[in-house]
């Protein structure tokens, strides 16, 4: 055999061994991965101690984006108190949160809207824990207009695109003495299933009855000419970038984005800007149901901001796992006590004292 040819064949052999080794390695890695699947979770047997430092483990949650900024702030603070606990809140929107809670993918879910039969969560298997409340702002972007007042009827007409430009007679009537440009109105709304949408449309249903025709819910059939954004921050982004845009965004995100927002005419006929004080005023007038669900929308009172939304965390009545239940209890207790102080700093309204006590009692009902 020619020496070159021989060397070539030897190379081939080396090559084949390399290929074989590669394949074997890949197969090994695969089986290795598969066997990991059965690895046991680190069992945490810490007892039901109220001190957060004794807690350890992981909590997964998803849901409403409306209180996301607040929950993330609380989670970050909770890290300092309970170093061995990891809490992850995924702002997926109330709709997805409730669905994943029903499917058992998350330990608790955040939602701004109440659970319906179609959400996939069995009635009686969960508890509402009210956490904070916040105003939903009507944020707008209109060059040259820094102050805007809107009545519920005008608001309804804008969002169902009956009114197409900013200099419409109805808007002018709400804003005497303000020069409005003829810029076309771009309506921004949530594209995902959203508790903010639910609360906003519920408000329009109540305050602009007869004018508002789209109904209410986590999603509604918006007219085709409107624009959809993901999460509160997505709607804020559309408003921020589009001249003539208007959308509904939580106060915290609207303020952090630097958006301008309108004063809304409340039940007493006063135009009120969204503020924490206005929200607290709205909360006091709200009627609280036995399951702790409450509705502060369109509350009476001269200083109440009318589009005030509650937000809840839904937890299982029974976790079937004492350690998990203790974790949930620990986190929520922290959120309702120390966590409430963080709310105002980032533009959320803490719960009134009476409601807070009820919420804490609700947390105690969680079983292992």
């Amino acid at each position: 055999m020619h020496p070159d040819r021989e060397a070539y064949l030897v190379n081939r052999n080396v090559l084949s061994r390399r290929v074989l080794a590669g394949v074997a390695l890949a197969a090994l890695a695969l089986t290795g991965c598969a066997s990991n699947d059965n690895s046991t979770e680190p069992g945490s047997n810490s007892g039901g101690d109220s001190a957060y430092a004794n807690l350890s483990g992981e909590l997964k949650a998803s849901g409403a984006s409306f209180p996301d900024a607040y929950y993330q702030e609380v989670i970050e603070a909770f890290k300092g108190e309970a170093g061995k606990v990891t809490v992850t809140y995924n702002a997926t929107g109330s709709g997805t949160g409730k669905k994943q809670f029903g499917e058992g993918l998350v330990d608790f879910a955040g939602t701004d809207s109440l659970v319906k039969d179609t959400d996939g969560v069995a009635a009686g298997s969960f508890l509402y824990v009210p956490t904070v409340a916040a105003p939903i702002t009507i944020s707008y972007n209109l060059q040259g207009v820094d102050k805007l007042q809107l009545s519920p009827e005008t608001l309804a007409k804008i969002f169902q695109t009956d009114i197409k430009t900013w200099d419409d007679a109805a808007i002018k009537a709400d804003n005497p003495g303000v020069t409005l440009p003829s810029t076309p109105i771009v309506v921004a709304h949530r594209s995902d299933g959203s508790g903010t949408t639910s609360n906003f449309t519920k408000y329009l249903d109540a305050a602009a009855a007869g004018t508002w025709k789209l109904g209410s819910g986590d999603t509604v059939n918006w007219p085709a000419s409107t624009q959809g954004g993901e999460k509160n921050t997505g709607v804020a982004q559309i408003v921020q970038q589009t001249n003539g845009a208007v959308g509904y965004v939580d106060l915290s995100d609207a303020k952090a984005t630097g958006l301008k927002f309108a004063a809304i005419k409340n039940k007493d006929g006063q135009f009120v800007e969204p503020t924490i004080e206005g929200t607290t005023a709205g909360l006091e007038g709200a009627e609280i149901a036995a399951d702790l669900s409450y509705n502060p929308l369109n509350a009476a009172g001269a200083t109440s901001y009318p589009i005030t939304a509650p937000t809840f965390i839904i937890v299982k009545t029974s976790y079937g796992d004492a350690a998990k239940a203790d974790l949930v209890k620990g986190f929520l207790t922290y959120l309702l006590n120390d966590g409430q102080d963080l709310a105002k700093e980032i533009d959320f309204a803490p719960l009134p004292a009476s409601l807070k006590e009820k919420a804490l009692a609700q947390v105690d009902k969680i079983q292992g």
């Binding site: 070539y8 081939r12 052999n13 090559l15 084949s16 390399r18 290929v19 074989l20 394949v23 890949a26 197969a27 890695a29 695969l30 991965c33 990991n36 699947d37 690895s39 979770e41 992981e58 997964k60 998803s62 900024a69 993330q72 702030e73 989670i75 970050e76 990891t86 992850t88 995924n90 499917e103 058992g104 993918l105 954004g229 993901e230 999460k231 921050t233 997505g234 804020a236 982004q237 408003v239 921020q240 995100d253 952090a256 984005t257 958006l259």
Partner: protein
Amino acid sequence: MSVTAPPATRPATGGPDLTRAALSGRRRFTNHLATAAIWGAVLLAVIPLALVAYTVIGKGAGVMSLSFLTEDIPNSYRREGGGMAPAIIGTLVITGAAALMAIPLGVFGAIYLNEYGKQKPLARVIRLMADVMTGVPSIVMGLFVYISWVLLVGQQTGFAGALALACLMLPVVIRSSEEMLRLVPEELRQASMALGARKWKTTLTVVLPAAISGITSGSLLAVARAAGETAPIIIVTGIVFTPNWNLFDGSNTALPAQIFRNASTSFPAAQDRAWGAALTLIVIVLSFTVIARFISSRFAIKER
């Protein structure tokens, strides 16, 4: 001898003049026009690429730093600073696991199709299915894994993401590898057989090495595509703010998902992080490509 006249000297008379100068004006014009058109087309194709690179580097380089690559993702979008370490780790681990599942399976599938199956009914069905699978939108793959794995296991994990990405990569690997195997000359196989090698040995030691460079390129395209997938990751892996190396326990995250999340907010700090994540992702995919090219050039047979 008169037969071997030096080739440099052109025959003075007779044969046609093939120099440029002899071209008619019209032909020369057409030639220049075609050359210009081709250059124009090349430029046109490069413009978007250059613009993307320019924008991503311009906006992403500002936030790029060691701490960006090693720190946790801040819980609050609006907070400045923080990094993308969990997403980088997630991307590497999830895409790596997906590649480990899809590439061997895909290459074996391609070997079956080209060396054994040929035009048998089963091979035809597999080929058709692979083609259909290539066209399945990634979000559908995400939902498929959500229903068939995530709900079954009861939690969102990195492995679920790897499964979805592997499903997306598999048809690309199968079809591209098969094309590459088909390009290997039949004579090579026959020569190997004639030397007494069995079919498996021929395939493993002759056909595969001959096609390895092309197979690597095809697999790499699949990996690059998978590394940039957003929709299935968002659906099946959940989110984490701290690194999670465990594919099978706990949620995970990846760079594309973080780009989407951060870019769709209205906060400058988050948008900066999105640009940084985009730059990181491009660099990761690019370095994958370079490494794989290097490996495949080492493996490839020089003499054909």
